[in-house]
Amino acid sequence: MRSAIELTGLTKHFGDVVALDGVDLTVEEGEIFGFLGPNGAGKSTTIDTLLDFVRPTAGSARVLGMDAQAESLEIRRRVGVLPDAYRVYDRLTGRQHVQFAIDSKRTDDDPMALLERVGIADAADRKAGGYSKGMRQRLVLAMALVGEPDLLILDEPSTGLDPNGAREMRRLIREEAERGATVFFSSHILEQVEAICDRVAILNEGKIVTVDTIAGLRESAGSATELTITVDAVPDAALDALDALDGVQGVAATDRTITVTMGAGSKTAILDAIESAGAEMLDFRTSETSLEELFATFTTVADTDETAAELDDEAATEHPDETDDAANPAEVAR
C-alpha cells in the first residue's frame, strides 16, 4: 500500500521555539487517521508543512508520494483542505467561495450540490461575512470537497459545530473514506476521533508520543493498572526497586503514597519490593485507566492549563511570526 503522508524527521523551529522535533509518521492510503494532541502541540504546524505554508527546518514531508515543497501545486490539486484559523471572504457569497475553489482546481463540480451536501444550500447566495461560525466551517468543508480529492486534510474540523453538526461532519468523513479518499484530521478532543478513526497519532510538544489503532490504545488503557500504596515512609530504595520491575510503566511518590502504573506483571512483586525496602504498608488500592486518562497522561502538560493555552493559541494565530507552540506553558517555562 502506498502512503498518503510520509513525514521523516520533520523539524521546525520558529526562532528559539521548537515547534516540531523530529516527527516521523506514515499515513497509509485509504485510512481515516486522527492526529491528536493538546493545543500548541504542533498539529497545525505539521499540517502547514504538508501544504507548504511553512518550510521545515530539517527533515522532509511527502504527500501522495510527492515532495511537499517542490511539488506543492500538484499536491494541492489532489488534496482538499480545511485549515485552522482561516477567514472567509466577507463580501463573497457561499456559492462564490465554492466556485473559486472549483475554478482554482479546474474541475466542473456543481457548487450547489456541494453546498447541499454540507447543509447550507439555502444560504448559497448570502455573503459569507454574515455566516455563523458553524456555517463558515461547513462552507470551507464544501470547498475542501471540490474535485473529489485523494486526500482530505482537516484541521480541527469540529470547531464551531454543534453536536449535530459534528455528527454530520463524521458522516461526511466516512462517506469520503468509502469513496476511497484518505482522511487526515487533527483534534485536541479524543472523543471526536475515537468513533471514526482507523489509527491515531498523539503529538505532544512537537514529538510523536504514540501511533496506534483505537483498539490498540483501548487495550493498553484497559490493561494498564494504577496501584496506589499508602506507606509509613517512602525509602528511595523502594522507588529504584520498583522502576526495575518487569511491567512497571511509571512510578510516582509523595511523602506517604507511592503510585505505580503497570501493564502486565505481578502486583505481589510490587508489594514485596516495597516491603523488602523497609517500608510498612498501611493501605493499597488499584484502578484501571480509561482511554481519556491514557490520553491525558500522554499530554499532561496542556491539561494543567487548557484554557490559558487555548487563549494564547488564538493570540498566536494573529501573529503569524510566532508559532502556536509558544502558547504551550511547558515551552515557555523551559
Partner: protein, 279 residues
C-alpha cells in the same frame, strides 16, 4: 497558472466594497470639475485655444496624484491582509501558486482602479463636447492608455510592498512613507542635489522646476518618481515626440522604461519575500 482565477475572485470581492464606489464617485467629480474649469474658466486655459490636448495636459497632474493615493488605499492590504487574517490559507490551500496570487492581485486591483478612472475619463468627454472643445480622438485614446499603464504601475508597486510583509500595519507604514517621499518630498531631493552639485550655491532657476535648466543628472533625478515619469510620458504622446531634447535618459521613451521599473522592481522584491515566507 490560475492568476486569472485569483484576479477574478479579487475583483468580485472588491467590486462589492463601498469604498470602490466612493472612489469612483470622487474621481468622476474631479474629472468633470477639472474639465469644466479648463473649458469654462478662461484664466485657467490662459486664453489659448481650447482643445482636448490642452485639457488632458492640464488633467495629468491631478490624475497622477489621485491614482497614487487611490492605489495605496486599494493595494496596501492586498497580500499582507490575506496572510494576516487567515484567508490566505484558503487561497493557498487551493492549487494557486504564490506567483499566481501576486499576479492575480496586481491585475485584480488594477481593474478595481481602472474602472473609476475610465468612467471619469469617459464622463469628461461630455464636458469636451458640451463646451465645444476641439477633440482629438487618437490623443485621447493614447492618454487613456498611458494613464491605465500608470494605474498598473502604482498598483504593482503597492502590491509588491504588501507582499513583502505579513503585517498590514507594516505594509501601511512602508506604503505611506514611499508615497510621501515619491509624491510630496521629492522636490527637496532634486533641489538639494542641485544645490550641492552647484557647490552649495543657489543656481539660477532652482525653484522653477524647469527640467531644461537643470544639469542632466538633476533632471534625471527629477524625472525619476512614477508620477514624473507618467507626466513625461503623457507629454510625449500628446506632443507626438517621444525623443525629447537632451540625453537619452531624459527622453519621453525612457520615461516609459522608468514607469516599467517602478512596477517590476517592487513586485519582484515582494514576490521574492512572499515566496520564501512562512505563512
Amino acid at each position: 497558472m490560475t492568476w486569472a482565477v485569483v484576479a477574478r475572485k479579487d475583483f468580485a470581492d472588491a467590486r462589492r466594497s463601498r469604498s470602490l464606489w466612493a472612489l469612483s464617485a470622487v474621481f468622476l467629480l474631479l474629472a468633470v470639475l477639472f474639465a469644466s474649469l479648463y473649458a469654462f474658466v478662461p484664466e485657467i486655459s490662459s486664453g489659448s485655444e481650447l482643445d482636448s490636448i490642452g485639457l488632458l495636459g492640464f488633467l495629468a497632474s491631478p490624475i497622477a496624484l489621485f491614482v497614487a493615493v487611490a492605489s495605496l488605499v486599494i493595494a496596501y492590504k492586498s497580500v499582507a491582509g490575506e496572510t494576516e487574517s487567515g484567508s490566505g490559507k484558503l487561497l493557498l490551500g487551493l492549487p494557486n501558486s504564490r506567483r499566481d496570487v501576486l499576479v492575480g492581485k496586481i491585475l485584480g486591483r488594477t481593474l478595481v482602479l481602472a474602472v473609476p478612472v475610465v468612467v471619469g475619463l469617459v464622463a469628461m468627454l461630455a464636458v469636451i463636447f458640451a463646451a465645444d472643445v476641439s477633440f482629438a480622438p487618437v490623443d485621447y485614446a493614447l492618454f487613456v492608455a498611458v494613464t491605465l499603464l500608470f494605474v498598473l504601475v502604482y498598483i504593482a508597486f503597492f502590491v509588491g510592498v504588501s507582499a513583502s510583509t505579513a503585517s498590514t500595519t507594516r505594509a501601511a507604514t512602508i506604503s505611506v512613507l514611499a508615497l510621501v517621499i515619491l509624491e510630496f518630498a521629492w522636490d527637496f531631493v532634486t533641489i538639494g542635489t542641485w544645490f550641492v552639485l552647484n557647490g552649495f550655491q543657489v543656481p539660477d532657476g532652482l525653484f522653477t522646476n524647469d527640467l531644461s535648466a537643470m544639469p542632466d543628472l538633476v533632471a534625471a533625478l527629477a524625472s525619476l518618481p512614477p508620477s514624473a515619469a507618467y507626466m513625461n510620458a503623457v507629454a510625449g504622446v500628446l506632443g507626438n515626440s517621444m525623443t525629447g531634447g537632451g540625453a537619452w535618459f531624459l527622453s519621453n521613451w525612457f520615461s516609459l522604461i522608468v514607469l516599467a521599473l517602478w512596477a517590476i522592481v517592487p513586485a519582484a522584491i515582494g514576490y521574492r519575500r512572499y515566496s520564501r515566507a512562512d505563512l
